[in-house]
Symmetry: C2
Subunit: 348 residues, 2 copies
Amino acid sequence: MDGRLRDGEVVVGGDARQRYYDSSGYGRPLGVDEQRSSARETKSHGGQEVALSRVEAAYLLFKGDLDSVEGMGFREFLATEGDEITTRFLVYADLRDRGFYLSPAREDWIDAPRSNTDFVVYPRGKGPWDDAVLYRIRVVGERADVPAEELGDVVLAVVDEESEITYLETDSADLRGSSGADLPRGVSADLLDDRVLRDRPSALQLSLVEAAYLAAEGVLSLNADGAGSGEADDGGGGPEAVRERGREVEGRRFDRRLRVYRALRERGVVPKTGFKFGADFRTYADVESVSNLGHSECLVRVLPDDHTFSPRDLALDVRLAHGVRKRMIFALVDGSSLSWVSVGRLTP
Amino acid sequence: MDGRLRDGEVVVGGDARQRYYDSSGYGRPLGVDEQRSSARETKSHGGQEVALSRVEAAYLLFKGDLDSVEGMGFREFLATEGDEITTRFLVYADLRDRGFYLSPAREDWIDAPRSNTDFVVYPRGKGPWDDAVLYRIRVVGERADVPAEELGDVVLAVVDEESEITYLETDSADLRGSSGADLPRGVSADLLDDRVLRDRPSALQLSLVEAAYLAAEGVLSLNADGAGSGEADDGGGGPEAVRERGREVEGRRFDRRLRVYRALRERGVVPKTGFKFGADFRTYADVESVSNLGHSECLVRVLPDDHTFSPRDLALDVRLAHGVRKRMIFALVDGSSLSWVSVGRLTP
């Protein structure tokens, strides 16, 4: 069977409706209007025509289930279609080979298409004639830029330079815990360069972000000059002094991290440094005892909300988090507003 | 016992030689010249004086093995000594607590001090009176910049914001393997946007860096326009065209990666993409069959040799590599010259 190019789709007639759509979920049946105009152009007879997306047509050519498109075979068709189709073809073929039906996420194909989605994947056993959607897929090459705002409720299918595909599931996240804050009052401490020295050898130092939080909560009194005067907060050593020091050593990143630290505490989650995992924080949702924190559930990386991800960095974070049995969470900060996105590996 | 500050060191007299140096490896015995000038100033009598570094003095104050320095206790001394001593104190204390003797890597203390080293650590049971050195330690805060050129034959002791220490062992590395290159000749292929389409469905695509290498080796003939003419290399489709395309999508990074890819191949090591690990390559030293590559031994990240590491990024790479049982290797490229540095976790 030969397909004809029309308006960026590949139209096939004959028994196409039964052969491609009804039995295998390819393409979309053309409506009466579309059908008629197509029939006029091509003088086709009988049956209901089906429009295949170019990616579907490429896959059918590749599988030998379609003979040609305008006389072209698979390789010629793909090369003619230009560069950008290749990555989408690879993802389409992978999902098809895994037994899923999927459709392009475009007007005329699905209801309410979204700009950040390339395909919708139906649950196993379902197809384009059903309403259920299992995954919304966004296809990106490993060198693409992925703006933070495009993450959430979408699966990134990242095609690497060897054409292997990594699926990264992104969702909005809601971190909650039951860890209470049983804080002492009026602890005295010295503010050093990039950490705070507390007056107990057993727990010698606080991070600046911890200290800034505790100072603002009235828990910590600081001697900003480090001279150990032992007196309570007297102007130079208040919460603002710690924030100022934080900004000196980290710039605006410090404010973002403090914003996230506070939000986690308010949600009953205990944040500790995530340094050993290359993250900003690791978090404990249900701390019963400080001496035994248990297993931390999440790694949190704090970023400005206009951050642009590289798929490689995403893959690194997600792979590491998976390896240590934690969820990877990105906390996206825009001034005082904050959103959480989880990203995890997915095997479709 | 009270110490006196002199020339940035803390001088202690009395039985200091026996008490601090001989029995516990602290400080350095002062020579006769130094001793005399000191004795004049302070009118001390008897015994051989010992100079402690400020970090050693802080540790002895902390442990209660030194009463005061110029009348100051631990907290006051540390605060007065300024910010930069704190991280070094933490690392010194950690290594002492692990049972090691160590000395500042400075003139008058050790032979041939190096600018990238803060402490030398002696093997267990050895001390400053022996020649053996187990580790050379460089202390950095987690926010410090670490130039690539300072890595190699040094252990980074990274002090994170909660004052936890991560030890990263850095060494020059030599990657060698026994994987031969049994390459076909004159395979025809199409050059697409950021990958190369080979004319065999079973192994559909090559990465650009693989294609650039194979084209330069005369293995691959490319149709640059992707029209599938099937003819051999005819000007537009030579090795240079692939490199050109690589530079378009990756900039100068492509040349660096190609340089490293070629070097690995020449060393009998098979590089594959390291994307899933957030790296440039994963490598196989002893490939017997392409269909069963086995376990890759190393992850390679390619960087310009003037790269500056953030300790957090280093920790992320090293942690990931460790989790998947691979060595983390940095390939540092300066034009055509190339050096290899391995970085791994160390528990002293």
